[in-house]
């Protein structure tokens, strides 16, 4: 259960909140001003490693009849896909490398090695998830419309199956992501414009076609009699990537300590309050340098949410400053070993599959700053959930 002791941060005055905002702006400025050759060299090196790894994996799999080659090729290909999806693709699409003014590494035209079209991802993730992070009813990443991740989401008997849905989501994560921007919630309520839905589906279909053709037809066919072994290797590599990406993402917002917010929080939210919400709503995890690289530096989820478009290789140094700031203002900074963080996520998924009265009752995981503002809003006074779409998708309407 996403739980937090609300008293830990209600002590902040408005002045202190604004001061935190100014300090964070300053951290941002320092990184922006010091971006340079070393950062470019970093991303070019990672891209080079990733492409070589992918090529080496594909070539090794031509010997997939030999079991050690199958294993080696699969691991190389899976690692390449992980690197491409998170450290390179996800971060580039956030605009982390746009400052280089390099058209080949730019958020406007990067397409990643997974089933979701980049255009839909940039909308559902960069905009909806990063702008409305952890606000119930606005951020579709809270359980992805499949899982109940907070007590503020009403229990339904369907939720009893959560442990199974969770396992399926982990295994087929890229397919869940592919459908994410369709907004299953809106489709269920019949609020989705069918023309837009058709256009988005068509784009997904095209992307899926190319991806599947490559991994499941062309490469297996090229290896002739051993096609089945190449096919299982490619499928395993995709599976490896799915489970790892799922793990990294779920450890970013659902471990204990990461807070959810009610939509009152959004009203008149200042930039400083937005920063605060990002810090309180995200959770880091600890790990080796390699772990951080393979998770696209998203073990620094708090820093990523504060500064989604700063180069990922700088998050480690930003984290030192943010941690210090949290200590000085007595704000919780959620972090822990990856394994422990995931166990907490798993516990929440299990617990919330049951009705509230059957489980121990923790304080509601919502931030108090919204509640402090007085009475609860009536339904008609509430801001509407975000239903607007990216440019390309909505131009079908």
């Amino acid at each position: 259960m996403a739980f937090s002791d609300v008293r830990e941060y209600t002590h902040l005055t408005d002045e202190e909140v604004e001061a935190i905002g100014r300090e964070l702006d300053q951290i941002r400025k320092e990184i922006e001003e010091s971006r340079g050759q070393a950062d470019r060299d970093y991303i070019l090196r990672i891209i080079k490693i990733q492409r070589r790894l992918a090529a080496a994996g594909r070539i090794t799999l031509f010997a997939s009849f030999f079991p050690p080659a199958w294993l080696l090729g699969t691991v190389m290909l899976g690692s390449a896909k992980i690197l491409e999806n998170i450290e390179i693709g996800h971060n580039t699409m956030h605009g982390q490398w746009d400052w280089m003014n390099d058209p080949e590494i730019h958020s406007s035209n990067w397409e990643w090695d997974t089933t979701q079209p980049a255009e839909q991802w940039k909308h559902s993730h960069n905009y909806i998830h990063h702008q409305f992070t952890n606000v119930i009813g606005h951020d579709n990443d809270i359980g992805y419309g499949i899982l109940r991740m907070t007590r503020d989401q009403k229990w339904h008997p369907v939720n009893l199956g959560q442990p199974v849905y969770n396992a399926l989501l982990a295994l087929f994560f890229e397919w869940g992501v592919a459908l994410h921007d369709l907004d299953i919630g809106a489709i269920r309520k019949g609020e989705k414009n069918p023309k837009v839905l058709k256009r988005q589906l068509k784009q997904i279909y095209k992307k899926v076609g190319k991806q599947a053709l490559k991994d499941y037809i062309v490469y297996p066919a090229l290896t002739g009699p051993f096609w089945l072994r190449t096919l299982t290797a490619n499928a395993t590599a995709n599976l490896m990537r799915n489970v790892w990406a799922y793990l990294v993402i779920f450890c970013g917002h659902f471990p204990d300590g990461a807070v959810h917010f009610t939509e009152e929080e959004l009203e008149d939210e200042t930039r400083a309050e937005w920063y605060l919400r990002q810090m309180l709503g995200s959770a880091n995890f600890e790990g080796s340098k390699l772990t951080h690289l393979m998770s696209g530096q998203l073990g620094y989820q708090i820093e990523h949410h504060l500064f989604p478009d700063l180069p990922s290789n700088r998050y480690a140094e930003v984290a030192v400053k943010v941690k210090d700031l949290c200590k000085r203002y007595d704000i919780p900074y959620t972090t822990g070993p990856l394994g422990r963080q995931y166990m907490q996520v798993l516990r929440t998924i299990m617990k919330l599959s049951l009705p509230d009265k059957l489980t121990s009752h923790d304080p509601p995981p919502t931030a108090p700053r919204g509640e402090q503002r007085g009475r609860r809003l009536k339904d008609e006074e509430r801001p509407r959930a975000r239903s607007e779409l990216g440019h390309w998708s909505s131009s079908a309407a």
Partner: protein, 362 residues
Amino acid sequence: MAEPLIEKSTLLKRVRTAGKALTTPLSPDDYLKLLNPLWTARELRGRIEEVIPETDRASTIVIRPGWGWRFDHQPGQYIGIGVEVDGKFHWRSYSLSSEPTRSGGTVSITVKAMPEGFLSDHLVNGVKPGTIVRLAAPQGNFILPDPPPAKMLFLVGGSGVTPVMSMLRTMARRQSMPDVVMAYSALHEDDMMFRAELRSLSEEQDAFTLYERFTEADGILTPDQLDDVCPDWKERETWACGPAPMLDATIEHYEEHDLRDHLHVERFTLNLDADGETGGTVTFGVDGPSFEVDGATTLLEAGEANGINMLFGCRMGICHTCDVPLAEGKVRDLRSGEEHDNPQQYIQTCICVPVGDCTLEL
């Protein structure tokens, strides 16, 4: 990633499409360029082969273009060159000084280091052979007609000589030099680019007359002095390239004599608002509609207010959904105060305001 844009051969296009089945969502070129940085047609690239000093402040840079380049530019045209400095690509345009069909597969530009021009200084003094640069295809209407007119006059000042150099070399090689007069103004003798080549050309070619003017000693060449320098200037088709005041005076002079149609002009510098005042005329899309925008209105707000269909997301500089390339002009990032004036650079319209006139690519 974006489809390869610059491949013109149908066969190669098919090969690339077939190869892409193996490399999707990347292009085969993304892997081939790991073997040789010029083996990519994702966009035009080149390798700097040689930096030849012309004067203390000017160098000729010889570039070997990679895949996709066509050596068929017209004499007088310029290219865009993107050079990486401290991790960031900066773009500028320079006239090609080489002639079109020169063998050896290279092109050259001649760059003069400007006092405030940080990129020109880097190109003249800092860039190493072997450096990979990005290129934009030749363009421009300041060109040599084929065949050239019977009587020509070149009025050039400083580094304005470079496009004319390409024209002269072409005519000399084709042995089709008509009656050409060139009036070349430089600060002093050492500042004169291509000095040796121009002087020997005027000795070898009877049809080519070179007039040298050293402005530090003799003052600038004013249009009314044309009668002395080139008495029959009114009968000549004229190409002028150089500093803005020189060009303005020349245009005025030709207009007074009703000869504007016979004057071809190339400007190197854009009129940027130097005092940093924000606000100006913003053009949405090259050849698109233009609107007056004040300095407190972001480009995104201005576009929306005028019915332009613009991409947007967070509207606070986070998500980069609204990014568009700047075609020309200058904008200021309200968040950082930083100003951007690199053509082709992507800017965040939700937090940028115009500084003087600018054009966005939509």
